[in-house]
Amino acid sequence: MKLLDNMSLKRKKSIFGYLLLIPFLIGFALFFGLPVIQSLIFSFNNISSEVGKGVVYKSVGFNHYTRLFTSDVEFRERLVSNAVDLYVKVPMIVIYSLFIAVVLNKKFRGRNFAKVIFFLPVIITSGVMLSMESSDYLLHTVQNTISQGNELLETNNAAFIDIKTIFLRMQISEKILQYLMAIIQKFYDIVISSGVTITLLLAALQSISPSVYESAAIEGATAWETFWKITLPLVSPYVFMCAIYAIIDSFTNSSNRVIEYIMDTAYGSSLNYGYASAMTWIYFIVIALFLAVIGGLFARSRVIFYYDI
């Protein structure tokens, strides 16, 4: 107690702060930090298990990494196609979920039902529903038809080409057009991955105090102005958060092509756990750099609003 008495209040507080953090940090280090470090060790070794010896490590130095950068064409191809995919999907996920969240935040009859509808993808894409979906005959047929339809759209659907030429005649640049087409084709994906972001944004919108809107209405602001000058700035930190989440989610989703490749290497026919760990590490660094750049851009542009800063 004597020790505590001699400390300044500030110091006591900071020690207490650490104390509160500790439970989280321990759990985190144990169930996350340790495995990650172990996977780093794995990435410099060939892992195999032998009868009577358990898991055997055989050091290969940087071999896995050099192989990754020099001879493995597939990894790089998948990585790049992933990044391109992201550039189409993420902005759309954010915009779409912001739009839906704003609509759902309005008071109308049946809005809880509507919220559930938009949250459904989160439930459907996990657990039992997933195994149902892949084993059910009718759902299979429906999905096949949809994907066939998409292929048709891509290749030879007359209407699709017509729209494209019409837009081209309207002097809209080819690049924007390609972007729009990509969005249309990926719309199912976008809707499916928006469940979480919509929920996050809803929570954000619900925590804006109604009195702000009230005073804006008294000052004579239209709904349009209110959205751009009040709603958007106030939820901007969460929009940023959603963007980060959407990026991470699409990078680490198990349907992601890179992840598929990693899983295949680790648990597939080759059972090369060491090489898969090396891939994960490179992949992880790529994602981190990607996010650092985006985070930096956001921070510099000062579009995010905070109460005190």
Binding site: K13, F16, G17, Y18, L20, L21, P23, F24, G27, F28, L30, F31, F32, G33, L34, P35, V36, Q38, S39, F42, N112, K115, I117, L120, V122, I123, I124, S126, G127, V128, S131, M132, L139, I192, T199, L200, L202, A203, Q206, S207, S209, S211, P237, Y238, I244, Y245, I248, F251, T252, S254, I259, I262, M263, S277, T280, F284, I287, A288, Y307, D308
Partner: protein, 257 residues
């Protein structure tokens, strides 16, 4: 998006002859509850009673979520509102961890669990759920922008300690945030099958038992749908409950500057 959902719900109420009709019908004509009672019949022959599976799932989800809300939001609160050394570094490490694909850490994770001796116990599922990086990120972001520093300052002038400030001021202000965090956590834990860590039948969660029913193949289509409905009801109920609980938060009246 809603179609598979509607289809499964309808399937759950279809009698046998309607299930295998070709072409399949979306809507049920003579609804029956047979599939639900069959669900219990199928399970009654197993060594472990159905209620045990239900208990396992409910227990894991409830304890895991409660612990998560407490531990993760405390950590988020300290990270968001107090300045100290390593604060930024710690937070960045957590964010980085979100980007590491979990598939590859499966084996090291198992080794860790084996070393602490938590294999085959509830702890292996519950405790890791306490520290949920996504929710830390979420809570921190909300606390950072929803709680003005002035309100914390005035609380500490009035003599409130960190814990007091946390429970009486911070948590009520970010209610939408932790209600959302609860949704994610429940969704996560409820769907866990116990996979790599749990081997004894009596500790297996409901999700696992239901997968076993589904593994029965095409004859179990009806029961399988009933099972899915049961599984989906819980996350959806939690979602609806938490959404309707969100009313006007304290920030509306908390501060005048």
């Amino acid at each position: 998006m809603a179609l598979p959902f509607v289809y499964v719900i309808n399937n759950a109420f279809k009698p046998l002859d309607e299930l295998f009709i070709y072409p399949p019908r979306l809507f049920v004509q003579n609804p029956t509850l047979d599939n639900f009672s069959d669900m219990f019949t199928v399970m009654s022959e197993s060594v472990i009673t159905f209620s045990r599976y239900v208990f396992n799932s409910v227990f894991v989800t409830a304890v895991g979520t409660t612990g998560m809300v407490l531990i993760t939001s405390l950590a988020a609160f300290v990270l968001a509102k107090y300045r100290f050394r390593l604060e930024k570094v710690l937070f960045n490490i957590v964010i980085l961890s979100l980007m590491f694909s979990s598939q590859v850490t499966a084996i090291p994770n198992y080794l860790t669990m084996r070393d602490i001796g938590w294999i085959d116990s509830y702890l292996a599922i519950i405790v890791p759920a306490f520290a949920m990086p996504l929710n830390l990120f979420l809570m921190k972001q909300f606390m950072e922008s929803m709680i003005p520093d002035t309100i914390i300052e005035s609380a500490s002038i009035d003599g409130a300690g960190i814990l007091d400030t946390f429970f009486r001021i911070a948590m009520p202000m970010v209610k939408p945030a932790w209600l959302t965090a609860i949704i994610f956590s429940v969704q996560n834990l409820w769907n866990s099958t116990g996979g790599n860590f749990i081997f004894s039948e009596q500790f297996k969660p409901l999700q696992y038992a239901l997968q076993q029913i589904l593994a029965g193949g095409i004859v179990r289509t009806g029961v399988g749908s009933a099972v899915s409905v049961v599984m989906m009801i819980v996350p959806i109920t939690i979602f609806i409950l938490s959404q309707s609980k969100v009313v006007e938060t304290m920030s509306a009246s908390g501060l005048k500057e």
